[in-house]
Amino acid sequence: MKQSKYIILACTLIVSLVSCKKYLDVNTDTDNPSNQSVLIQNRLPWIEHFYQYTAGVTNYRTSCQTGVYYTNSANPNTFSTTWACTNANSTTSYQTWFVEVSSNLVDMYKAAEKQGAYHYMAASDVFHALGYMEMLDLYGEMPYTEAGTGNPSPSPDDGKTIFNGCMAKLNEAIDLFSRTQDPVLPTLASGDLWSNGNVDKWIKLCWGLKARYMLKLSKKADLYNADSILYCLSKGPQSNADNTAGPGFNNSTQLDYLIGDPVVTNGNWDYVAYGATNRISQYYYDLLTNMRGSGVTDPRMTKIVPASMANVKLDGSGKVMSYTWNRSKGVDSYGPSTRLLKGTPTSIALQSYAAANTSVTYAIANATDRTNFINDQIASGRTYTVDGNNVKVTYPAGSIFINSTNYLYAGDTAYVNLQSGSLATTKVAQPATDVNWYPAPASGAAAGAFNAGVIGSTGSFQVRPVSDQEILTYHEMCFIKAEVYLRKGDAGSAYTAYTDGIKAHLNMMQAKLTQWKASNYNNPDMWPMDQAAIDAYLVSPAVAPGASITMADIMLQKYLAMGCSIENWNDMRRFNFSAGNVGGFGVVYPGYKRGPLFTGQAQLTGGSPTDVRYWMRRWALPPTYEIQYNSEHTLALNHHAADPNIWCMPIWWDCATDDEYNGYLKN
């Protein structure tokens, strides 16, 4: 007994004291790899995907600002309709860029540098430029030189520093891409989701980005250099084959770690068409149906403006037997805004599906409204009964209708929402080649509309889960060239570039539509345009004739082609929106204005369109993640970062001089 006791004691001592160092070396997570061990060819697809995600939310929200989309979602509605910009809009772009991408760039660059993998260093540089320039476009100032490295309290930099830094990174990228990488290293192709390692295309992307960024300086007499831009364009994309796009797929249900959105889909879709809150705005709709007041419907219109089924008749088995397409109207926020004025700015209602005949009783106290409402029912051929103020309408089985007793909303089926379905987000077993939206039934099984084949939305070209996410395209290059030439006074060259741009965009769309058709996507809006309509359009009054070309002609065609893109907002700022006071070009974006539902006096404090502070010129920094957590640094650089009217403070490239810019920050 005594012996065993000593043995126990001795063992205990040994366990306690011996090989202490080794005993303590357990501070490595055995379930999760460390960031030190990630291969560069695994970093790059991550960066490409999550940059697409950042760009998606940015494109969406800025497109609400520029009038491409209307939304009934409360926060972005303050971009599309009331212009009482809420800070809640500011967070996602910032968070997804900084958290999902920025630190990975630093790690990928370091790892590539260690191995001498030039092409991965270069790719890191390109994403650095893409991301930080986008942040500059949105926020004006934020941490840059100290960002993305785990420094929890980085100091911000001004717009000029960020701009110059991004340009320098592109120059470095061009140099690095031009070098030959040691063949033993991972090839760019092994990690390049976007361009399959085509270095030539990457170099053209760099030059194209330089052109895009140098164009931002158009307000700066001392820095704007037309010939430099033209030089960059000459080395950038020369045809649609040189376009850089992020691919979108519908072949997986995997969701991302931060927001929980699918990882294979197009980033624009994640925000514009994931849910049912967004619709085409009247402004965009008009460009597609009445460009230059021509009354000509663009062949691209039915590919961009969604439709739903109407007048559906179901057969005995409950399947669609006959129907017509209900092509969406645009929601008007800038013009008379008749519909929105009847409700609240966010009142456009969601469509439901009537699986069986469904009656709704509307109480309509106003006699005129009641008469108009009844006339609408007669026109639609619906059964109705009237009892005093009450009008009872029956929606036949198979109808898409508004499931509300509020008569004001009953006609909102005219505004088809932009939602598209995906494998990861729809319950009903839609095959991968069916990305239509099927509205939820007011009652009955969720699959009702799908099983019947009643489509609630055919979706829109740029914002389906399987759409290409355009990063830099040849048609954008053409429109930049057109603008630069017109600014130089060379209308002839401008005109050539302008028509090249329109054709390039039509061709790009047609190629994708042809591909979709070949892949058996089941919706006619995803099939090619009629070539005859394209040809007719190009010679129609919708396209400017020859040398009489105006800046508005160029910029509106560019706007139409860019669509869901931050570049429209960048361009609009350069032309002071519709103020008409830039460079003698007149009003470049006619019809873009504060609408009758405008309530943004506190955010946009300018009193008249020629006052720069009349317009949305930047986003507030994220109220919590930057202003609250880094307030001291933030306010030291920009005294007004937390002011309600920060939304109308021009950013660096939107100012003619550094003095003007610094004046905004300090005064």
């Binding site: 999760n32 460390s34 506190a602 609250q628 640094h633």
Partner: protein, 1053 residues
Amino acid sequence: MRKRKLINLIMFVMLCMIANNLMAQGVPISGTVLSDNDATPLGGVTVAVSGTNRATVTDSKGKFTITATEGAMLEFSYVGYATQRVKATADMQVRLSSAEATQMGEVVVTAMGIKKERKALGYSVTELNAQELMKNKNTNVVNSLAGKVPGVNITQFGGSAGAGASITIRGGNSTSESRQNQPLFVIDGIIYDNSTSVTGNTGTDGLSRSNTSYSNRVMDINPEDVETLSVLKGAAAAALYGSRAADGVVIITTKKGAEGKVTVNVASKISNSWENGLPDPQTVFGPGNYASNGVLNTTNTYDSWGPKIPADSTIYDNIGGFFQHGIVYDNNVNLSGGSKNGSFFLSASNFNQTGIVPGTAYDKTTFRFNGEQKYGALTLNANVAYSVANTDRTLTTAGLYLSGVGSMQSLYRWPQTFDIKNYINPDGSQHRVYAGTLGLESDIDNPYWIINQNKLTSKTNRFTGGVNANYKIADWWDLSARLGYDKYATNDYTFISPGSALIPLYQNGRLSKDLLDYTYITTTVMTNFHKTFFNDFEAHLMLGTTSENTQTVGQNHWGYNFNTPGTYSFNTIAASNKFFTDATTRRRLVGAYGEFGVSYRNIVYLTATGRNDWSSTLPIENRSYFYPSISGSFVFTELLPKSTILSFGKVRASWARVGKDANPYATGTYVNPPITVGSFTGIGNQYSAGNPILIPEIQNSWEVGGEFRFLKGRIGLDYTYYHSETENQIGQPRLAQSGGFIFSTLNAGTVINKGMEIALTGKPIAQRDLSWDVTLNFSYNKGRLGAFIPGVAYFYPTDAQFGTIKAASIPNGGYFLGMIGQPYLREKDTKGQEIPNGRYLVDPTTGFYKLNTGLPVVGNREPDFIGGINNTLRYKMLTLSFLLDIRKGGDVFNGTEYFMIANGLSKQTLLNDRQSVTVTGINSQTGAEFNQTYTAGQSYTIGSTTYAGTNMIQQYWANYAANSYNFITSVNWVKLRSLSLTYDFTNMLKSKKIFKEISATAVGTNLFTWTNYKGMDPEVSAAGGTGGSGSTGIDYLGVPAVTSVTFGVNLKF
């Protein structure tokens, strides 16, 4: 059920075995108590039979009579005198020594289990014995401390069966939510985990701290096994425990067998509990809401903004009818005995509780064996305990993203004209009020559907054990070694029934299973030296070393869409819809420590300690850190002439430093699971950044205090003032995302706690048949956050944000237990500062008050002070105890009322019969007076939209709900925390062949609360177990707190 039967069987067998051996019987024992100083009789001395409630007091001649078995131990206690334990004999004479005159003063258990005289301590320690803890027995030992220990703050997580509680001592020291501020629990020398673990995933199964009930793992202890509980409050007291002791230590010593006959104790209790408060919904207006143009919607809303309920309608008491009486059956048996060289203690218990929410339950079974054997100079101790705790619970609120609603959230909004009990259709599908007009994914589940169809369980099996060997090498030198083991596995099961109101993906059911496996192994070797020299000096030296090895393994399995109706298992889910993840953490620590103490006569005591730790969680170059402490006490009355007024006086002071290591893996940055896009695999960083240059967090603290006894000990006073400062806070707060991460690990910031504790004991009445003991305690703490990295306005734990409120700590001298939210903006003075009671700003673009959305500080959840008054009144064999728990100040957010205002169920919304509301203030754009009444029948044009008055009234309340200040109260309360009445029947026993002792007890818990708080119960914590500033003071859609009445019988054989 089967388990219950087994336990009953075990108990019965034990009874039979023991009954055979019962020979001894209780007899009246009488005797006299004299003072040792002058042999005068001592009146008012409490004479208690050890281990029972039975006690008497000596009369003025020092005489007493008490019923006890021969050989039982009697305890003689008198304030100011050392308690003596004497074996009962006929006609005994006992001499009590006054504490100041004896070598052996009151002894308390201190760090590392070392017993020390209280007067030698340079810091504050509070000790509670079994009797005190059992007065208002709670199955969670932590709850039994409420109101009894100055400086200790207990918060119950809610009224659910199996809900835990949190304990903080002298405020919290760490800001970060991943860092606990609760004290270390040490049971019989072995560190005992007290986590409140959340195993699941808030996104996929709704499991987060706020959405259901969680137990704190100290609940695995059977409270009846506890002999003493010692609370070491400050760092000086706890320093020897090292890295994990910065928040104080609770040392629990379990019962041991005593030399003598084998005794059996059986205690049975039955208790009935019910909610002590419920929201009181309005029953005037029915379901519906009004669109901006005034059109009434009654086709798809659970809001209660609709028209008046017609007089002939049935109104259902949905909330009142929902809760049931909770019943507890609590059975304990223990068996103990011993010989000269050995002793044993064996116990079994079962605590079976049904909750006040139907379908919820908590069932705990425990076993313990403690044994001791001496072999000459060697003493061996062994303890093993096994427990099984099962909780049936319910989701009370919604988790993040896609988990549907919870039962309380649904209950507190259900319109009163709908019969909530009608929840299921004959075909088994959910009865849905708006089935025809609202898709399932947009609907909300009926609470009865949630509690009857879904199934959430949590099961924990725990084994703890320790072996301790002590070898007395010489009178003055001993050596001991200990091996400890703590292991538990928690298995959580969450099944969401098909047909629940979830996103379409999950409408055909969802299942998740989570495992958390915790293992802790520790070894300790310690040696002690004692020596007296020059007669007057005594010194001791202790040296020791310890190692700790902690590992947790977490596994989550989840899936959705059962493909075979009726069988809900992972086997009926397609492979593509099933997911699992693993998480393992390891932490190791080696410590070496020593203590040196020296005392001069009984006057001056000085103790110094030092410890060095090597922790695996810190970077290699920073993993070793040393921290010392020094403390002293001075019994000044030893130097004064004897006084009957001040019979004892001592002052004490201490200073200590304690280091705290990091969480495992905090030094590294890790990556996410890969994404697959086409043929490419993408891997990127997680949103938390590690920090490879972390240094340990350091707490420096000091305290001063004194102990005084007056009037020969009739009155005692203990006073402490303390100050602690915890620097280099290791945390992973949310910081500027431009750093590239959401959470970044860093050392920054300081937490400062200052406060004071007062305990006053008195014995106003001490007569033979009547005595009254009273203890009054009082404490306050002010927790503040020091400087932090510049520009950070606040920290908040993710788990504690409700309605418009977030629990948060505020840097640069702000509240540690702050609360941030959205108040209405008031007018500003010429300097741009808000005028404290200025008029509200009205936003002309909405027609309502303008909110400050910048999340300013709106409250401090820390009370101004807390206190307790603990009374014991004894009349003959009847003992009455009651405990009053007092709190003054400290803000509470009534999130339940916020919720009910937002959905139109609150009675407040009946203002003006919902015919009008008035907005008064100044126009935020023009500064002009704004005074506008919105009337139901009118319409109003705001901006360019015309709104019906009915809609404006609804919007008014939405605006009202958005103002955090409308729901914040600085709360005061006096709670009758417990009231217990015990009668000892032992004297009445005619034949004592079987029973030696019988007593019966009736206890009421939380019988009354006097408070200015308008909600259910102000003692709230909406998200149990949150670290950092926690969630105390936030009341949000929880299960109501309960009042209970317990009847119990104690039998001794």
